[in-house]
């Protein structure tokens, strides 16, 4: 037996080797591209974040953790973190909740639902840069539609409310020019622009909810819409929610075009809207400080990676039954 087996075994192992070589051969182009366009730039950015390199310079000095140290100590960057996290913490929950609410409402409608779907999805399809210009006109302190509308309240009972009272006396907010309002306006536009996308994702998720589960819930004595939502809809939307939250977080971290359109000169009044993406652009591109730009980029990557890991963990543990 052993005499017969040995060549067979050898042949099998040769066969396995050949298959493995072919497999690697076929994977190589994809691997090469992944290294070249994804991993190498990340590594380069990582290396550059420890230097004071500027584009066009023939050489650079190693500066160690000086760039990172600056990020954590200078007040500009403190404002950057505050602006970025305020934006993320406001826009993500609000746009997810609104997206879910809109999806549930649209889903309960018949044909008219399609009209709403289109309307809510319009801001997602529109170019944010163009929309930002429209918003800029609307938010103009004197000739903008918003302040003109608010001024209509002057002389009416609405003046009793402090906001309107102050506005009528001293003029309504400057919105984009006011450091107390600028970040909230930015958040509002972020929500306005983003929740339609979440709605579409949730609508897709809702089609996957088993209809018979609602009937089972009804037979089990579930009477209120809230209980039905808690028992059937929300658990069924678990995977969708994880995806929506992750994608919303990443999009919120990436906010850039509105900031660039409203405040091209640098991060809004008193740097109150100096978000990370804009900081990378300003330092790395406008001021040609590649080192510090790379350091912010690395930090940004860490945040996104962290979110992705949380998502993976949730998807694998919690939301798939």
């Amino acid at each position: 037996m052993a005499v017969i087996d040995a060549p067979v075994a050898a042949r099998t192992s040769r066969e396995v080797n050949r298959q493995a070589r072919t497999a690697w051969g076929l994977t190589t182009p994809a691997l090469a591209l992944m290294f070249l366009i994804l991993l190498v730039p990340v590594v380069v950015a990582g290396v550059l974040s420890f230097t004071n390199y500027s584009l066009g310079n023939s050489s650079f000095d190693w500066v160690g953790f000086k760039n990172y140290d600056r990020l954590l100590s200078r007040s500009t960057y403190e404002k950057m973190f505050i602006a970025t996290f305020t934006y993320v913490v406001v826009v993500v929950p609000v746009s997810v909740a609104l997206g879910l609410g809109a999806a549930l409402l649209v889903n309960s409608l018949g044909r008219i639902g399609d009209v709403y779907k289109t309307i809510y999805f319009l801001p997602v399809m529109a170019t944010l840069l163009a929309m930002a210009i429209v918003w800029e006109f609307m938010l103009h302190p004197t000739i903008g539609v918003i302040n003109q509308t608010l001024e209509l309240s002057c002389g009416t009972f609405l003046e009793a409310i402090r906001f309107f009272g102050n506005g009528c006396a001293d003029g309504f907010p400057l919105w984009l020019g006011d450091r107390d309002y600028a970040i909230w306006v930015l958040c509002f536009i972020g929500v306005w622009q983003g929740f339609g996308f979440n709605m579409v994702l949730y609508l897709a998720g809702l089609t996957g909810v088993h209809r018979e589960l609602y009937h089972a819930a009804e037979m089990d004595g579930v009477k209120s819409a809230w209980e039905r939502f808690r028992l059937v809809t929300w658990p069924a939307l678990g995977p969708t929610t994880v995806f929506v939250v992750t994608i919303s977080c990443i999009r919120a971290f990436q906010v850039f075009d509105t900031v660039e359109a409203f405040w091209p000169q640098g991060g809004g009044p008193n740097k109150s809207t100096y978000v990370m993406m804009f900081a990378i652009f300003e330092k790395g591109v406008q001021q040609n400080l590649i080192g510090i730009g790379s350091a912010i980029t690395m930090l940004f990557l860490v945040f996104v990676m962290f979110l992705t890991l949380i998502q993976r963990w949730l998807v694998e543990r919690k939301v798939h039954y």
């Binding site: 009937h215 089972a216 009804e218 037979m219 089990d220 004595g221 028992l231 658990p235 678990g238 039954y321």
Partner: protein
Amino acid sequence: MAGLSIRSITKRFGDTEVLRGVTLDVADAEFVSLVGPSGCGKSTLLRIIAGLEDPTSGEIEIGASIVTGTRAADRNLSMVFQSYALYPHLTVAENIAVPLRMRSLSAAQRLPFVGPFLPGAKEQRTEIASAVQNAAEMLEIGALLDRKPGQLSGGQRQRVALGRALVREPAAFLLDEPLSNLDAKLRVQTRAEIAQLHRRLNATFIYVTHDQVEAMTMSDRIAVMMGGEILQCDAPSVIYEDPNDIRVAEFIGSPKINILPVELGHSEMTLFGLVLARVAEASKAGVYHLGLRPEALKLTQAEPMITGTVAHLENLGSEVYAQVALADQTARVTLRATPAERHSLRLGAQVSMSFDLQDALIFDVDGTRQRRVEVALSNEREVA
């Protein structure tokens, strides 16, 4: 536990009439099957009884109260769905507890975190837990209580769905093709278990199925539905032996009943030119259908009534079914033979068959049973 009565229920979806004035009375503790081909309206009827669908007209009465306008959650019925419809994020124990939680805990007591600490909640929760334990033991799924539905096999899920239905005491159980997702072997086993459960709980069961074997083996009465109507509602043996309609006769029984055309003249009945019987009483002359169950046909050598060649054989071990292509006819008949007779049944073999006219069912061309003709035939035979 209560009886149920359904009075002239109609249901229209747009222009299509799914149910046409269905009336059915179900006694307390009775097991009634609604059986029929797909699209006959049996599931719609069950959903109307449950309250998941509104009838276009008609009334439903459970116990002594009319519930037509009442929503499903308030009708005190339990339902087992074809897909089981278990909540995928809850464990087996939590799934079974849902109907009790929804009915015996207040909205505040159901709240997460806070709920368990509200007054009265603890006793209620202990009661629910013991009810769940009892239901699980009755169905032998006690070991599975901590698993999620995704970790269970089809048969286990089916038991959990049953458990969720019987954990409280509803007025009636509604079952919508609960066995159709199980493999054949498990189906036979579960069939017996559901029948036993019915005897043990002594509750009213309404069971929808397209499988006539399930209906025959489990029910006290079978309601055969077709085209949105109940054609006949009777005990299984009556439905099989004494159907009112050719459609009932054809639907119930496997293999299907043999239908042969017979001609009734003024004085005799003929089958393919052969005189079967004489009729003295003047019955309406014309073409009729003769229904013969496969077991009514007997192989014979002397005085054959029909002859043909064996076209197909199915040997089930305990019995043999032969499809016989009739000589000079396009029709085929199915014959049930004992294993002892197997040697004479080979493919292509010539066989001769006879039958007792008493075993035959006679229908007119519209499919209505003609008992008067049958009586006339048997009277004549007795005289002869």
